[in-house]
Symmetry: C2
Subunit: 348 residues, 2 copies
């Protein structure tokens, strides 16, 4: 905050801490602090004449509002928290971008934090970040500890659980059914004539959405009277590399599938590229399907068959929901199913 000594740094004016305050602005404009404050927050409520004088003072002094004072005194902070498992995943990045594009336009700042797929860390992070008195919370997923749910519901602000649809959301819920999506992709593969369909998942104890896609996969197999041809799980976090590694493990397993449904596109792309290196024909020898619809999968040849999830849109809707609720506390919209779409490439 750099308002340590009285020897207020170079370039500073006014105030014991070297900061230009609203008091300075008001003084220079010859009005009360209140009027200056009002002129900045709702210009329409102040006479033209004073407004011009105040604006002039703001520019001349280089005044910047101290958000800490504002946030402490008022009932909102214009801060929204976004809590996701990983910063490094395109999926969460897209949600963050969607939310930021909506929120920053309205003057809101995002405070993000990542849980590394640990529910315990998530609770810890919630507690910590709630100290920032956010006006709203966006959190990935619907699986939380009781402590987290308690913290969120007691926060008194709009909470959006994003990406996945759940049975008992804390408040607002925007996403899709990963189980249904996993089922649909598996049905697609079966309809394509693949009989021995395998699954390469992610750590089921951490990545619950990948787990639900797996459940959808078994749902579809069961309905079709088939059994999993091969099942394996990559360690979390997944990567192109681990996708390639999982394919090598599959090849060495001795088991044979004619299609492999990968829990996400990183795994699928990694597997696809490894197939090429190993001389495995896709989809001839082995079909590959992914999940999410990342750009890279659509640029590969063969193009990756995958499930497109509208992640950026989820981020936008989450942010819009928070703004709507803030503007009107009676606003309700408990659940938005954004759906998904099978993207048919050539890989399966």
């Amino acid at each position: 905050m750099a308002r340590r000594s009285k020897s207020s740094g170079p370039g500073r004016s006014r105030s014991s801490k070297g900061q230009v305050t609203l008091r300075d602005v008001a003084q220079r404009a010859g009005v009360a602090m209140m009027t200056a404050s009002r002129a900045l927050r709702s210009p329409a409520t102040v006479s033209e004449k004073l407004r011009v004088r105040i604006d002039e003072a703001v520019h001349a002094l280089g005044y910047v509002q101290n958000r800490f004072a504002g946030g402490l005194a008022s009932e909102h902070t214009e801060l929204v928290t976004v809590i996701v498992p990983l910063l490094s995943s395109r999926v969460f990045m897209d949600i963050l971008r969607g939310a930021d594009d909506v929120l920053s336009r309205q003057g809101y700042q995002i405070l993000f934090s990542n849980t590394f797929y640990s529910l315990e860390q998530e609770e810890e992070i919630c507690r910590r970040i709630l100290g920032w008195q956010p006006d709203g919370v966006i959190i990935a997923g619907v699986d939380h500890t009781d402590g987290t749910r308690e913290l969120l519901s007691r926060s008194g602000v709009p909470v959006v659980e994003a990406l996945e649809l759940g049975e008992h959301p804390v408040d607002i819920n925007v996403g899709l059914s990963h189980r249904a999506a996993g089922q649909r992709m598996t049905e697609y593969l079966l309809a394509k004539g693949y009989r021995r369909v395998g699954f390469i998942g992610a750590d089921p104890a951490r990545d619950f959405r990948a787990l639900r896609r797996f459940q959808g996969y078994t749902d579809a197999l069961e309905a079709a009277g088939r059994r999993p041809a091969y099942v394996a799980a990559a360690p979390s976090p997944t990567s192109y590399r681990s996708g390639a590694e999982m394919l090598r493990i599959y090849l060495e397993s001795g088991k044979r599938a004619d299609a492999l449904f990968c829990a996400n596109d990183e795994l699928a792309v990694g597997a696809l590229l490894e197939c090429r290196r190993q001389g495995v024909q896709v989809p001839g020898d082995l079909a590959i399907a992914g999940f999410n619809g990342l750009e890279i999968g659509q640029e590969l040849f063969p193009r990756l068959t995958t499930v497109l999830t509208p992640r950026y849109r989820i981020g936008q809707i989450a942010a819009e929901s928070i703004l709507a609720r803030l503007a009107d506390p009676t606003w309700t919209c408990k659940r938005v199913d954004v759906g998904f779409e099978i993207l048919e490439g050539e890989s399966a």
Copy 2:
């Protein structure tokens, strides 16, 4: 902030605004607020007995510190600003991750914002975000408006310009010379025997680092007595798709190069994949080189020849520098050259 009505929401206790405050904690523990405050900030300075009582009260009441009150009263906010062009680029994401991994461990929160490669927006963002009184600023690049430089240097807090090394940094500077790196890659290509080396860049009016790589490219060509075989620039932001598009444009141009140096790996990967679709042999018909060393490039076949930039490390060092300066105002370390490395794949 949800402290609207007196009808303090469910689950709330105490305080006119429904929040559990330090006063409540102190009261319950039977100590003065000051003592409670001290016990939380520096437990060692409070007697064991009181500390235990205060901790008990904190847990019983579910007290969470109000960062706005703390930030307003004290000289630091434990907020660090990270300003980058894009959220969607892996490059900036890596810097953000590196910084966050260091900062969150120390209890600092990141406040990020993106400029979309506009220097005017960057200045606007700086002004806005400085209202959050950050304890430090990390900003991508060394190209800023005079206004931005003024804002940053007057902020009085440590400022790290990251990713690129500049002549006159505002304060601390962590990065590498993109011009030297561009030159080295071009020298590498020439040494490999490629004679007609072309360049596919990014928007030179926005992406200044890509521009400097281009300058390095011309430096190397000049030194070798050669001329650019082909030069084009992709619109900003770049993508795999635009890389593919640029390759198609190149093929249609009628010009012929035997190697194409792409300003970043997204363009290079896109171009590489398009080569496959078009039946262009890499590196036989055309060699492709990139910049950054993204994971995907190293998984493709042929592996992408590129320049590895330590982006995660840059984020870490930037964060560590801020913490070091905060811990000791006399700490100085104006410039850290993190270097780069030629990653030799099979694509060039």
